[in-house]
Subunit: 375 residues, 2 copies
């Protein structure tokens, strides 16, 4: 039903090209998943997203569970039909937003109690509940509930939260085994904070449980890029080749290339969409803020080297005007451009892997982009 | 250069089908012009607007003069190039927004002094300046500066403001004659408030001056629909057949049909776009608010009889969810649907005129739509 196959391995790095085979279709990796938090990639009609070459999205369980509700989405035939998305959908467990968005949260051995950021209503999210909600959403790839480990944090706290993640992972895999009709891929999540041994242990533990894929969690929480790269490396060492490896919530163009080189297959990040709404676009020569006064009469496109719809049809001057006037169209156009950039980046990365030139590509990307410390 | 030709006259009413021939293309009338205030139809890429069948837009001189500035747009090759719109553009004179938006205004014999609603800067708009700004914008059809007459108002005040409109109209036509290279159609505007004789006089006066088209101004300012229809009728009586007649800022589907029956050729209105952003859509069975709780699990489209992209692809439940979540996509989708509705309405009106069935069409529209009192 769900299979992952490495079809090409780079000679010089751990980078690889793989195929994620699912009942809904096949995805070539490394893959970037745009974020469609509330059942929409913000400001983007779904067919425009598909037209950019994307065939998998990430949606947020926390948001959809609270509004419109997973039962509502189930009654309407699932998330794909609801949002008219013909590609795959990966959903997170809801855990991350419970920690980052809810008004109140309390972690217990059984799960996490939280109050909705929308209306203050109280909810209890458990590992089993997270899987049930994601089934109602009809997600293709579901994530298990994990804990969120801040940075920095004491070793004792990190250990406690990592072990709780493991306990919940066991409950998740048991639930899946009890329900052979569960019918979707389930990914386990590695924690361990920034403590080498703990992270190694966590990786071995999660790998052992026999999930369909392995997510590297708890990164991009404010740690330096080097530390993050170390953590990715030592995790990957413990993940056998046959598992798809998903680095959650990462990252900048450089972050992605660095992780691909270390053997990561899947990515999601709000950067292209969120930055667009804030007026910052990705170009072949680095980030560019459309707000700059010098663009007032600049007839050139966002990126002269870009062939997207926006760069073929609109000037910086026009986009700056729309942004200053807070015109809705600008959020669509800048998002479209940024998603085009990320789609092309992933294509370029795959080509570079095939040609054994991914390290050269990294140097090129590094010229114009930095690693992120947090987003 | 600019010609108008009536190609079909209804046997039973004053409705007619015409062709507006301009250097940029030919427009069939009756025509509805979507409003693209700040050089964008809000939330709509220009090719999507064109794809709905629109080939003429209205843009607002007041807004574009203040931001990004008509000189900037001129330097960038004019409004069409700036916003990537291949159809025609009609611009208003800026007068209406001076009265409705600016922080401060003072009418003199020479023009109107006002302060920008953006930064409080002071400006002086004269009849000649209005024409010059619109030339900088490279508008295809420009409107002369007129006064705005509130309702209700005393006869004396209405008379004074109507005569000032006439004085400015003379200055406008003189300017055009002095500049044979002005190179665009100029429309005069009738005022006269709701006073029959004054409006008749104003119509005769404006018609005499030899503009390329005649706009019926000063309506939809809070007057009852019947009074508005009377004013339209008596204006039309005084406008020879060969002039295109433009009813500014109108209206609901019923308003439009009523005016077509009375001989009006051109319309613009914010209703389809503004209502969309407020969650109200036009359907074959009347207006519908997407916010209604009963739509929570409603799988049907906005309008089961509609064939637009939105109705073919999304449910009321999904659109309600997006609206509740304030997702940017919903403003695009509802606007698209409403503009499709208006495009189809105009098509239906033209077919009904050809078949001599425009009065029947009015009865059908009346079943589901009311006349507006103000918007």
């Amino acid at each position: 039903m769900f299979k992952f196959k490495v079809i090409h391995k780079d000679r010089f790095t751990k980078a690889r090209i793989g195929l994620l085979c699912t009942p809904r279709g096949v995805i070539e990796t490394p893959v970037f998943m745009p974020v469609g938090t509330q059942a929409t990639v913000k400001a983007m009609p779904p067919d425009v997203v598909a037209g950019l070459g994307y065939n998998i999205l990430l949606c947020n369980t926390y948001h959809l569970y609270l509004r419109p509700g997973d039962e509502v989405i189930k009654a309407l035939g699932g998330l794909h039909k609801f949002m008219n998305w013909k590609g795959l959908i990966l959903t997170d467990s809801g855990g991350f937003q419970v920690y980052s968005l809810s008004q109140f949260r309390k972690i217990t051995e059984e799960g996490v109690i939280f109050k909705s950021h929308l209306d203050g209503s109280e909810h209890f999210l458990t590992p089993v509940k997270a899987l049930e909600i994601q089934k109602n959403l009809n997600s293709d790839i579901v994530m298990v509930l994990d804990t969120c480990i801040p940075y920095p944090i004491s070793f004792e706290e990190a250990k406690y939260l990592t072990e709780l993640t493991h306990k919940w992972a066991i409950e998740s895999i048991k639930y899946k085994k009890r329900h052979p009709d569960y019918g979707r891929a389930v990914f386990g999540i590695i924690q361990g904070g920034m403590f080498k041994e703990l992270r190694k242990e966590s990786t071995r533990f999660i790998v052992e449980l026999g999930f369909d894929g392995i997510a590297i969690g708890g990164l991009s929480v404010g740690e330096p890029a080097e530390l993050r790269n170390d953590m990715i490396e030592l995790s990957i060492e413990e993940i056998p080749e046959e598992f798809p490896r998903y680095l959650m919530g990462v990252g900048t163009p450089l972050d992605i290339v660095e992780a691909v080189i270390r053997g990561v297959d899947m990515f999601d990040c709000v950067l292209p969409t969120r930055n667009a709404r804030r007026g910052t676009v990705f170009t072949s020569r680095g980030p560019l803020s459309i707000k700059r006064a010098e663009f007032k009469t600049d007839e050139s496109p966002l990126d002269p080297e870009c062939e997207c719809y926006v760069c073929r049809n609109f000037s910086r001057a026009y986009l700056r005007h729309l942004f200053n006037a807070k015109e809705l169209l600008v959020y669509h156009l800048l998002t479209l451009h940024n998603l085009f950039y990320y789609a092309k980046l992933m294509k370029t990365i795959k080509e570079a892997i095939k040609l054994g030139k991914v390290l050269e590509l990294k140097e090129k990307v590094k010229e114009f982009y930095e690693a992120s410390n947090n987003f």
